[in-house]
């Protein structure tokens, strides 16, 4: 199966600042991929690179086997719902659908009409008069009716109330069950991602901290609590994600493929949220240097 998104040493620099650097990922098709990270961690940059709205400064990216934004055929295969689900305030719902039909060669007019009817949206209503939830649903409808092989959504639910958020994700998941396509969406709400994503990428400090199948990530990460121990006295196969210490106690989040038999540790499973936080909390290389300098 073709990878939905492949990046090799991908980077994007604005002036002196790298918004994304050394990004190497290989995401198989057929997943709902969650992209999570702080504001400014590089999520939007990665999504814009994937949809061809930005050109990389370094490295390569291929989406569905092609160069992002290369030709109209490639553009038709990838849908993009931008941050805060924008719509043309002066155009009616029906006019949005007509515009979608004109601009997209694979437009599914029946699906668009059916969704709008089911959502109870008035086709003659101007988009500017819609509620936040309704506007998001309109943007989602446009993205789905394009019938893309990959739908990219940048923080689609961030500004919605809990009910509208749930309804939006219900619509998105229902569509993925009905028409097989891949989804990449960014969010800083891990609780939403936990339900809908089966593949996760954690971005922090402009870098990919971890990427992988959610089941696999949860099976290979553990929290160890026990008497204080230095990280260099952990087995070689246990990769430390985060560690906290008091005088007597150590708490680690480790990644390992092997079972943990050491009786000194109390081993607990991590929730996806704990896992994400452990990676986002990870001291960056710059922090570590600063720390060493202070200690000297």
């Amino acid at each position: 199966m073709t990878a939905v998104l492949q990046a090799q040493g991908l980077g994007k620099r604005y002036g002196k600042r790298w918004a994304l650097r050394e990004c190497t990922i290989d995401i198989p098709a057929g997943h709902v991929v969650g992209l999570v990270g702080h504001n400014g961690a590089g999520k939007t940059t990665l999504l814009k690179l994937a949809s061809g709205q930005l050109e990389p400064t370094a490295g390569d990216i291929t989406v569905l086997g092609g160069r992002p934004g290369d030709r109209p055929a490639q553009l038709a295969r990838v849908g993009f719902v931008a941050q805060d689900t924008p719509a043309y305030a002066g155009l009616t719902v029906a006019e949005h659908l007509r515009l979608g039909a004109r601009l997209n060669p694979r437009w599914d007019a029946a699906m668009a009409r059916e969704r709008i009817a089911r959502l109870g949206l008035d086709p003659t209503q101007r988009a500017g008069k819609l509620s936040g939830g309704q506007r998001a649903q309109l943007a989602l409808t446009l993205g789905l009716a394009k019938r893309p092989e990959l739908l990219i959504l940048d923080e689609p639910v961030a500004s919605l109330d809990p009910l509208a958020r749930r309804e939006f994700l219900q619509g998105l998941m229902e569509a993925t069950a009905e028409h097989e396509f891949s989804v990449v969406l960014s969010s800083h709400l891990v609780s939403d991602l936990e339900r809908i994503c089966d593949y996760l990428i954690v971005l922090s400090d402009s870098r990919v901290q971890v990427a992988g199948n959610v089941d696999r990530l949860l099976a290979t990460h553990h929290r160890l609590t026990g008497p204080r121990r230095d990280p260099d006295r952990l087995p070689a196969g246990q990769h430390v994600v985060s560690g906290r210490h008091t005088d007597r106690q150590s708490t680690y989040v480790v990644r390992t493929d092997a079972p943990i038999h050491d009786p000194a540790w109390t081993v607990t499973r991590l929730s996806l949220e704990d896992l994400v936080l452990a990676y986002m909390d990870k001291p960056t290389a710059a922090d570590r240097r600063a720390l060493l300098e202070v200690q000297r």
């Binding site: 997943h31 229902e174 936990e194």
Partner: protein, 134 residues
């Protein structure tokens, strides 16, 4: 096709993975006699639309139930209950509960409070489960 026989729910705070929660809810419904042989489980699309979860989660849960011999998928139609869990285990519940009550009384006499009892039970439960796997 009428109304689905059962409806799933998800507890985000339980720490149990969503797919396992679905599996457990089907098993639970079978044990309580809410689901009978021949009943149709909600379709993947229905579950996904109701809970806003990943379709693969539902597929994985249904595959697991199929593997356990509790349900069977009829391609293009749906997933149907093929077995029941009530007859075999229900009879054992009474004596087991009695033993557990005796054990709880013993634990309290030994000075354990609710939290200690729960902690003891859960750690023993987990280590035994792990030993069974190993």
């Amino acid at each position: 096709m009428g109304e689905p026989v059962i409806e799933f729910h998800l507890d985000a705070r339980s720490g149990v993975s969503p797919y396992l929660q679905l599996v457990q809810q089907v098993r639970h419904a079978l044990r309580l006699g809410l689901l009978h042989e021949g009943d149709q489980l909600p379709t993947v699309k229905e579950v996904v639309a109701q809970l806003a979860i990943n379709p693969n989660t539902v597929l994985k849960a249904y595959r697991e139930l199929e593997h356990e011999g509790l349900v069977a998928a009829r391609p293009g139609v749906g997933t149907f209950v093929t077995a029941t869990l009530t007859d075999t285990s229900l009879a054992a519940h009474g004596p087991l509960r009695l033993e557990l009550q005796r054990w709880l009384a013993k634990a309290r006499r030994a000075g354990l409070d609710d939290e200690s009892i729960e902690a003891l039970f859960m750690t023993t439960f987990r280590t035994t489960a792990q030993e069974d796997i190993a």
